[in-house]
Subunit: 299 residues, 2 copies
C-alpha cells in the first residue's frame, strides 16, 4: 500500500475530529440501553458516564485506520460502527472502575462527578461491568471473531487490566523508565493500539498494512499516555475537566516521575515521529494528522 | 428428537457430576493465566477465586446439554471446553463483584475468605474484570459469534447484571412474587439457562430442540435460585461453605420472603417437574437426572 490515502488537502483535522466525534456520540446514544428501561438506575449510570463527553480518541483511531484501509463507510449500523461504540464503552468501563474509592478514588471526571459519586459504588461497579458486556455484544455483532479476540487480549491481564494492577502496585514506589513503559503500554497503549488494529481488521487490511498500523498504534498509544502524564503536571484544569496534580498527589507512577519532564516531552516527540514514519515520505493521510494532533493536544 | 438420549441405566448421577466437575477443574486450570506471570497478584486472585471449588453447575449444564444434542466430546480444547471454562469464569467474576463491601459485603465464599478479604478491594475489582474478559476471549475462540452474543445477553443489563442491580435496590423492601421472579430469572436464571443453550448451540441443535432446552433451562434456573434461598434458611453452613442466614441479615429480597417457605418449596418442586416434562414421558437422559439432583441438593 504505497499510494496516498485519504488525502487531507481540503480537510481540516479539527473538522475531521469533530465529525467523527459527533458520529461516535450518535452511535453511543443508539447502542446504549434506554434510561427508561429496567433497571433504570443502571442504565442511567451507564449513559451518564459514556455520554459525559470525552475525546473519543479510540473510536477516532479505529475509524481513521478503517478509512485508511479503504473500509466502506456508507450505511447504518456497519461493523465499524459497532466497534467504535464498543471501544469507547470499554474505555469508559475502565475509567469508572479506575475512579472507585478502592482504586484511584477520583471525584471528578470530564468535569463532572465520577460515576460512584453520582450513583453510589454498587451502581458504579455494575455500570462498568455492564459496559464491558455491551462492548463484547457489539463486537460479536460485527460478525468477526477475530476482533473479539483482539479486544479481549488488549484489555485483559496482559493488556489494560494488567496495566491497571501494575499501576496500583507501583504507587509510592521508585520506578524505572522500563517499568513505566511496561505499565503505560499495557494500561493505555494496548487499547489505543488495538483500536487501530480493529479498524484495519474490519476493513480487511493485508498483512503488511496490519504490521505497519500495529507499529503506528503502539507508538501513538505510548505517546498519548506520556502526554497525559505531562498534562497532569502542566495542563489547564478547565480544559482537561479533571484535577491537575492528582498523579503526584496519589504518588502514581508516571513517565515524568521516572525520567523527568523534559525527557518525557522529548520521548513523546520521538514516538510520534516514529509512528508517522511508518508511512511513506510523501504520504499525507488522516493517521499522520491524527498523530500530530495527539502530540499537540492540551486536553 | 424423540429417541432416548445419553441413557443413564448404568451411570450414577453423582459419578457423572464428579467426572464433569473434574473435567471443568482441569479446563479452568489450563485456561487461567499462570500465577508466576506478570501481574502475579492479579493472576493469583483470579486463580484463587475460580479454583476455590464450587459446584460447577453452569459448565455441567452446558456439557450435559451438549451431550444430549450429540455433540462430539472426543479431543482436547474443543469449543465446548472453552465454553465450559468461560461460563464458570463469568460466574466467578459475578461472585467476586457481588461480595465486595459496596455490594453484599460478604467475608466468606466456598468456605474461604472472599477475594477482596484475601487480596484487597482493588485486586478483587480487577480480578473480576479480568475473568469477565478471559471468558469472552474463550467464547470467541469457539469460532461461534452466536455464543458470544448469547452470553453477553444473558449476563448484561437485561440478564445477570440487571438482576444484581435490582437485587441491591430491593434490599429492605417488601416485594411480591412477581418482583422476586423477575430478579431471580435475571440474576441467576439467565446465566444457567444460557449455559444450557450454549451447550446446545455448540452441538448445532435444531430449532425445536433449542426451544425445548430453553424452557428446561429457564425452569431449572429459577428453581435453582429458589432452592438457594431455601438453603440460606434451612441449610447446613458447613456443607454450603458460606454463612447461613445472610440473606435475612442483609434484608435481601428472597423467594421465601415473598411467598413463605412452604410455597417456595412447592414452587421449586413444580418448576423442576415442568423442566423435566419438556422431555418425552419414557425418556431417561442426563438433563432429567440433573434437574432432579438440583431439586434435592443440600449445598
Amino acid at each position: 500500500m504505497t499510494k496516498d490515502k485519504t488525502p487531507l488537502k481540503s480537510i481540516d483535522i479539527k473538522d475531521y475530529l469533530k465529525s467523527v466525534k459527533a458520529l461516535t456520540d450518535r452511535l453511543l446514544n443508539r447502542y446504549l440501553p434506554a434510561e427508561d428501561m429496567f433497571p433504570s438506575t443502571l442504565h442511567k449510570a451507564m449513559r451518564y458516564s459514556v455520554l459525559a463527553g470525552g475525546k473519543r480518541i479510540r473510536p477516532i483511531l479505529a475509524y481513521s485506520s478503517y478509512q485508511y484501509c479503504d473500509g466502506n463507510v456508507d450505511g447504518e449500523d456497519l461493523p465499524i460502527h459497532f466497534a467504535m461504540a464498543a471501544l469507547e464503552m470499554v474505555h469508559t468501563y475502565s475509567l469508572i472502575h479506575d475512579d472507585l474509592p478502592c482504586m484511584d478514588d477520583d471525584d471528578l471526571r470530564r468535569g463532572m462527578p465520577t460515576c460512584h459519586k453520582k450513583f453510589g459504588e454498587a451502581a458504579a461497579v455494575l455500570a462498568g461491568d455492564a459496559l464491558h458486556d455491551v462492548a463484547f455484544n457489539l463486537l460479536a455483532s460485527t460478525g468477526s471473531n477475530k476482533v473479539v479476540v483482539e479486544l479481549a487480549k488488549a484489555i485483559g491481564t496482559f493488556g489494560m487490566i494488567g496495566g491497571q494492577m501494575a499501576d496500583v502496585e507501583a504507587e509510592g514506589k521508585n520506578i524505572t523508565r522500563e517499568d513505566i513503559i511496561n505499565i503505560h503500554c499495557r494500561k493505555t497503549g494496548a487499547l489505543l493500539s488495538s483500536s487501530v488494529r480493529i479498524g484495519a481488521m474490519l476493513a480487511e487490511a493485508d498483512k503488511k498494512t496490519m504490521e505497519k498500523l500495529s507499529t503506528y498504534g503502539e507508538k501513538v498509544g505510548l505517546a498519548f499516555q506520556i502526554i497525559d502524564d505531562i498534562l497532569d503536571i502542566e495542563g489547564d484544569q478547565n480544559l482537561l475537566g479533571k484535577n491537575v496534580g492528582s498523579d503526584s498527589e496519589n504518588q502514581k507512577a508516571t513517565y515524568p516521575k521516572a525520567v523527568g519532564i523534559e525527557v518525557a516531552k522529548s520521548d513523546a516527540h520521538t514516538l510520534i515521529n516514529e509512528a508517522v514514519s511508518v508511512f511513506d515520505e510523501f504520504d499525507d493521510n488522516i493517521l499522520i494528522h491524527l498523530a500530530q494532533y495527539i502530540a499537540q493536544r492540551n486536553k
